[in-house]
Subunit: 348 residues, 2 copies
C-alpha cells in the first residue's frame, strides 16, 4: 500500500520564492530572530507568503542547526499513578507553552539507563527526573545533561520537591490530637526520597510525643499501589494486638488498606483510623472519604519544568538549589477520635 499521497512538503524555499526574497531572509523573519533587521515591507511579504502556502517550520531541520531539539525528557516511575499523572500534566503544560515537546519515559516499562540513552540520541535539551533514584545512578549516565529533579535529594542538580517531612508530621499531629497512641505505618520499600521523608516526618513527630511504632507495625510493601495496601492491612490485622491508627505513605496504599479493613469487618474510622498522602482526586470519592495530605502535584511538575527551561534557555536560576513546596492536611472521613475503650483483641 503506497503512502497516502506523500505530502509535498512546503519548505522555506517555497516561502522565499513566493515572497521574492532569498531563502535566508525568509528564515530571518520566520524564525523571528531577535536582532534581525528586516524591512517591514519585506517581513510582511514573507509572512503573507508563508501563510498563503501554509508553511510550517521543520523542527527537525531547525534542531540540527540550532543544536537544540526543543524537547525535554520526563522520567517517572509510573505515569499510570494518578499522582504522577498530575505531575506530568503540570510539566507538559509549561513545556508546551514554551514550544517544547515532552518525551515521557515510564520506568515501569523500561530501565532508567535505557531511557536516558534514547533521550540522548534524540538530543533532548534537558531532562526532568521524578523520584526514580537518579541519585543512585552512575555519574556518567547523566553527564552533560541538564537535569532537574522532582522529589529527590537535590545535591548535584537543582530540584523541586514537596515538603514530605511536613506531610508525615502533619498526619502524626492530626492523629495524636485525636487521641491515638497505637500506630502503624505502611509504605513502599522503594528507594524514593519523598517516601522516606514522609516516613521520617511521621516517626519523628511521634517520637517528639514520646511514642514509637513497634517494628511489627512498620510494614514495607513492594509498590505504592492499592493491591499492596490491601495486603499490608491483611497482615496487620492478622498480627496480635491492633493499632488504632495507620499512616499509609500514599493514597493508593490507603485506599487498599481501608478496603481490606472494611472487608475484614473492622470499621473505619470507628475501630481504626487511616490516613493517606497525596490527595489524589479519588481520595474524595472512596467511602469513607480519605483523610490525607495535599501535595501540589501539578505545581511540582510545572515548577520543575520552568526550572529546567530556565537553564536550557540560559536564563539564570533565581534561587540556588531546591524549591520546597508546602503541603496541607486534609482531614476527611477515615480518621476519628480514638475509640474510648481499646479495640477488642482479635480472636482466632
Amino acid at each position: 500500500m503506497a503512502p497516502p499521497a506523500a505530502a509535498p512538503r512546503v519548505t522555506i524555499y517555497d516561502v522565499a520564492a513566493r515572497a521574492g526574497v532569498s531563502q535566508p531572509t525568509a528564515s530571518l523573519v520566520l524564525s523571528n530572530h531577535p536582532r534581525a533587521r528586516v524591512a517591514l515591507a519585506t517581513r510582511q511579504r514573507v509572512l503573507d507568503a508563508a501563510a498563503a502556502i501554509g508553511y510550517l517550520p521543520n523542527v527537525v531541520a531547525r534542531s540540527l542547526t540550532r543544536r537544540r531539539s526543543f524537547a525535554l525528557g520526563l522520567i517517572v516511575p509510573d505515569f499510570r499513578s494518578p499522582f504522577i499523572a498530575d505531575v506530568v500534566a503540570g510539566a507538559e503544560r509549561v513545556a508546551a507553552e514554551a514550544g517544547y515537546a515532552v518525551l515521557l519515559c515510564d520506568q515501569s516499562a523500561r530501565p532508567l539507563a535505557s531511557h536516558l540513552e534514547l533521550l540522548r540520541a534524540r538530543q533532548i535539551d534537558g531532562v526532568l527526573i521524578d523520584a526514580v533514584g537518579a541519585a543512585t545512578l552512575p555519574e556518567a549516565a547523566l553527564a552533560g545533561l541538564r537535569v532537574v529533579l522532582i522529589d529527590e535529594p537535590a545535591e548535584r542538580w537543582p530540584g523541586v520537591a514537596s515538603d514530605a517531612t511536613a506531610a508525615g508530621r502533619l498526619v502524626a499531629e492530626h492523629l495524636l490530637a485525636l487521641g491515638h497512641r497505637e500506630f502503624a505505618f505502611i509504605g513502599p520499600a522503594v528507594d524514593s526520597h519523598a517516601y522516606r521523608l514522609r516516613e521520617r516526618g511521621f516517626i519523628s513527630a511521634l517520637r517528639a510525643a514520646g511514642l514509637t511504632v513497634p517494628s511489627a507495625r512498620w510494614l514495607r510493601v513492594s509498590a505504592a499501589a492499592v493491591a499492596e495496601g490491601r495486603d499490608a492491612m491483611r497482615r496487620l490485622l492478622a498480627a496480635p494486638g491492633r493499632p488504632t491508627a495507620v499512616f499509609c505513605a500514599n493514597d493508593l496504599l490507603a485506599i487498599g488498606a481501608v478496603k481490606q479493613a472494611l472487608t475484614a469487618g473492622v470499621t473505619v474510622p470507628g475501630d481504626l483510623s487511616v490516613a493517606g498522602c497525596d490527595d489524589i482526586e479519588l481520595a474524595r470519592y472512596v467511602t469513607p472519604e480519605l483523610t490525607t495530605v495535599r501535595i501540589p502535584a501539578r505545581e511540582l511538575g510545572a515548577r520543575a519544568a520552568r526550572l529546567l527551561l530556565r537553564q536550557v534557555e540560559g536564563r539564570p536560576l533565581r534561587r540556588e538549589g531546591a524549591v520546597l513546596l508546602p503541603v496541607q492536611l486534609v482531614p476527611r472521613g477515615t480518621t476519628a477520635p480514638v475509640p474510648p475503650t481499646p479495640p477488642l483483641a482479635q480472636v482466632a
Copy 2:
C-alpha cells in the same frame, strides 16, 4: 550560569576517523543498512571504534536525511483517566520496542488542531487518535498524515476499537437476567463513538426485551469522570420514582454514582444495582466492588500502534479496515437481583 560543560558531541566522523574509514562507510555499518556490503573486518573496526568512544547516533540528523522522525503522535482526550493511561501504556511499549518515540498530546490541555500543527512541525511519522472526534475534523487537518484511530468510526482511516456495542449489551443482559426492569443510564455528552455505541448496545438489548428507558432517566453529563457521576446520581435520586438498575458509560461515572447513592442512604446493590464499563484497576477496590465490562485498554493501544507502524514502515496492512477487540462482563458487587418489592418511593 554557563551550560554544564557543553558535552563535546561525538559524531560519526569521530568514529570513522578512529576506525580509519570514510564517514559514509561508518554510516553504512552503524545504521546497519540492509543491503550494505562492508568487509567483516571493517565493520568490526567501526563497531569497536563506536563503542570505544561511546558513539550515539544523532536521531535529529538521521531524521533530516531519512525524512522520518521515528516519532509518533498520540492524541488522547485526557491521559489522566486510568483507562486512557492504559491505552497510552500499550502504545508506548510497542512504539518504544520499534525505536519510535511517542509525543503524547492531551486534548484536555490544548485543542486538537493545535496539537496536530505541533506534530506536523515535528515531522511525526504518523499519529494515533483516541476517541477525540477525529471524524469531525476538517479534512485538511489530517491531510497527508498517516492516521490510525482508536475507538472511533474508521471510515477514512484504519482503526482499532473495542466492541462497545457488546459492552452495552452485556450489561443489559446481565441486569435483565437479575430481574431488573426499571433502568437508568448515565453517560457523557461528548462526541465519542465508543460511548455512543455503549449506549446503543444497552438500549437495543433492552428494546429487544420489550423495555425502554424513559428520557428522564437518561442522563447526559459533561465529562466521564467521578464528580459527574455523583452529580448525575443526585439528580436521578431527586426525580420521582426510582430505577432499580443504572448503567454508567464508564467506571469513573459508576464510582461517582455509587458513592452518591450510598451517601444518600440508598444501598448498593440492595436498593439499586450499578454497572460501569472499562474495568479500570480501581473497580476492584471500591466498596462494593464494581460490576463492569472489561475493555482491553493496553491491547487497544498496542494494536493501534502496531497498525500505524506497519503503515509507516511500508509493510502491508493484513486486514483492511477496523479491528474489533472483544469485551467481557465482570460481575462483581454492585449488581444484584432486583429487590422483591419495588423500592419505596422517595419522600421529600
